[in-house]
Symmetry: D3
Subunit: 166 residues, 6 copies
């Protein structure tokens, strides 16, 4: 018992519009590193996405239903560092697909460290998912391409529903 | 007590020839992310360094004496993934100074994941130490430059002793 | 005759708004690698360009009139991989100006490979044209700069006509 | 007296919406390299910024009041190379935060060299300000974060005034 | 018959010390782009490798025995551009694993273009083989790691034979 | 006369083994930025080059004979920052060929700034010389390739003399 420590939590932030297998890969890897993973949906009211916030949350929760130690929450109006403090997270986890990803993420990671000491840890995304991002998956799906396997089944259905509507 | 979990260990590998403030920065950040940090000195018998193995270990241990939750060990002839399994580590921690660092580290990180599922987490090194590496510090010190503040005091003394000897 | 093979076709896609000497350099290099080159104008109806689609095609065709083995077509609503299958292309050809260009193109290239096995080949653009892109050429021309030599003569005239109109 | 030369001028261009300590760091370093520094506010009438042009100029001038050899001007409708010729500048000075910054700046630098022979010199920004850009500072400030030390005091006040208004 | 053209050949150069599944992936992709692929073993007599030249050739040929349209040759003392001219190749094919790979290869590609007009085409390596290079595979194998699946079976045996000998 | 200022000096360091047109391009550009350019041959006694120090200096001086405001000197055993202080230089000038070049140069530039406040300014090398480096030129020349135009004539002769000797 003397070795016991409080659980270590991390936050996986994103817009998840919609969640892809690339996101799920990073979230699953995070569960191997930390005791609890809080998936944080960053919501920008000024920027309409493809899916509204309740749908994004719903798709995420359905995709993660079998994943213990993971919960999904919304980052409100405030800063990510405030959200992380509120949920008791020691780190933000980000997946990287290449060196330019790191260059893009670095200023935000250093800003968060500056603001509250919050650390960002980067992990290499699964290479076989390098081509999987929300925007590219949507572009392919909406032009009639098959994205089976690149997103969870519930997201596949949701994408097809959007395509048929437009 | 139901929240208690076994301690999470990570490994910070390197040749540490000698340890610099850049290394110590990454090690200290790792202690905020994991319960225990094993600093792993990778020893390549085929490649003579500036300092021999016992000296590197000694300088590391003196530099880390005030750092709880950190211990220093030698990686023997085997693979880093075997060492990590033996010490019960869930991750390797590496500091990055830029996108090209990541590109250089990525194949090794993916190889380790392939071999044993071992994950590598990357953290941004403190930007004000971007110019601090063992090789550059030695080059400066051996050409008469002042590296005070770039290495711990015990290393500064050791570097000057090497310089005066040659 | 036993050595004879069917002609190998490649596709050079782009928005060509308008075509520049940078584009023509890549197209000409592609003719040395493949028997036939299909220049594919990707048309996004949701995004108004500087030139409308018929003008882009016209400028391209005038610029390529002396280039045997090259034809210009429009990619309709579907995916680029479907267009490539329809024209019988074995590869997409893309010019690169630097490592970050590659990082940007990589996910799309891997997505196309995933969707249909279509390969993307990258060739180094002529370094002396590193500064030549449609957007930078337009910015210079519309602020009164001389872009002679950076675009074909027909494009130069078209750019000046747009500038004088606004 | 035979060694005397005419003063060497450089231009530090930017939109400065608003000026940050990152900009001031580059401007100050430029004063050590050249006799006179012209800070050139690039004004894009088509793109509404956070602060209007007179306010940007005012914030810059207040921030640079103690800096001899520096003056602030507006780049009008024309090209930067024409502005540089008019003020007699031998070079543009740009701060770099990483290799991807350079890749982004390179085409514009080569275009300016092509248009008028104007050279661009790149200097490494202060690493401890890697996270400081106008856009990131605004994002933090408008979400309630403290950006003291990342911008001059007059800018801090101006940012808080904008935040309270919205 | 009027559409028939002479076969298009490309060259895949490397030291192949030894061939890996990463090399084979690029060679196989090249066969989809060109009619014939010449695998060119670059031999540097001044630099002793792990395997001697006859062994490298033998391992390559055994690994490629089922691959039609591919042959293996040695580049002698001369330049790669001379070798390519002698075998009638229109292009060199190189696999890329990331943007830094491209930056490394670019000067050599441009030098070859300068010397003889020889073009280099770059293709994205299979992402799931990002961690597979001759040097990393050897490092792992010689430290007791299992590299099954990363190299052809004949190479696996050859690596184990070397390991047992040392 | 009141506008007169003391001359501004910069240092262009390198091993120049041998000088290439790529080096001369950067040196010439430096003369447009600073009043005087000191070309500093860094000499590493532990590392035998292709040409000995007196030959490197001789080739540089012959190549620069028509270039006013440039002189060639040897950096002795000390640090580059000490050399720069001794010659009264305000900056080191380095040519960049891409973003990875910058990533490589950045730690040394920041170390020099740390040691003495010495600034490094980076300028874009002439793109049409991207393939020109001492090592690549020597590799080509020693394998029988023609490097005319990539090095000054005196260097061309010197390279051929070395080739014929070996």
């Amino acid at each position: 018992m003397s070795d016991a420590t409080p659980p270590r939590r991390c936050v996986c932030p994103g817009s998840f519009d919609p969640v892809t297998e690339g996101h799920l890969d990073v979230i699953r890897r995070a569960t191997a590193l930390f005791d609890e993973v809080v998936v944080a949906v960053v919501h920008n009211p000024a920027k309409a996405g493809t899916f509204d916030l309740p749908t994004r949350l719903d798709l995420l929760r359905q995709s993660l239903v079998a994943q213990p130690g993971v919960r999904v929450e919304v980052v409100g109006d405030g800063l990510l560092v405030d959200f992380c403090r509120d949920v008791g997270a020691v780190a933000v986890v980000k997946g990287l697909r290449g060196g330019t990803d790191f260059a893009y993420e670095l200023p935000m990671a250093l800003m968060n460290r500056h603001l509250s000491g919050l650390e960002t840890v980067f992990i290499a995304g699964e290479p076989s998912l390098t081509h999987v991002s929300s925007s590219l998956v949507k572009e392919v799906a909406f032009h009639g391409g098959d994205v089976t396997g690149l997103v969870p089944d519930v997201v596949l259905k949701a994408l097809l529903a959007v395509r048929d509507r437009t």
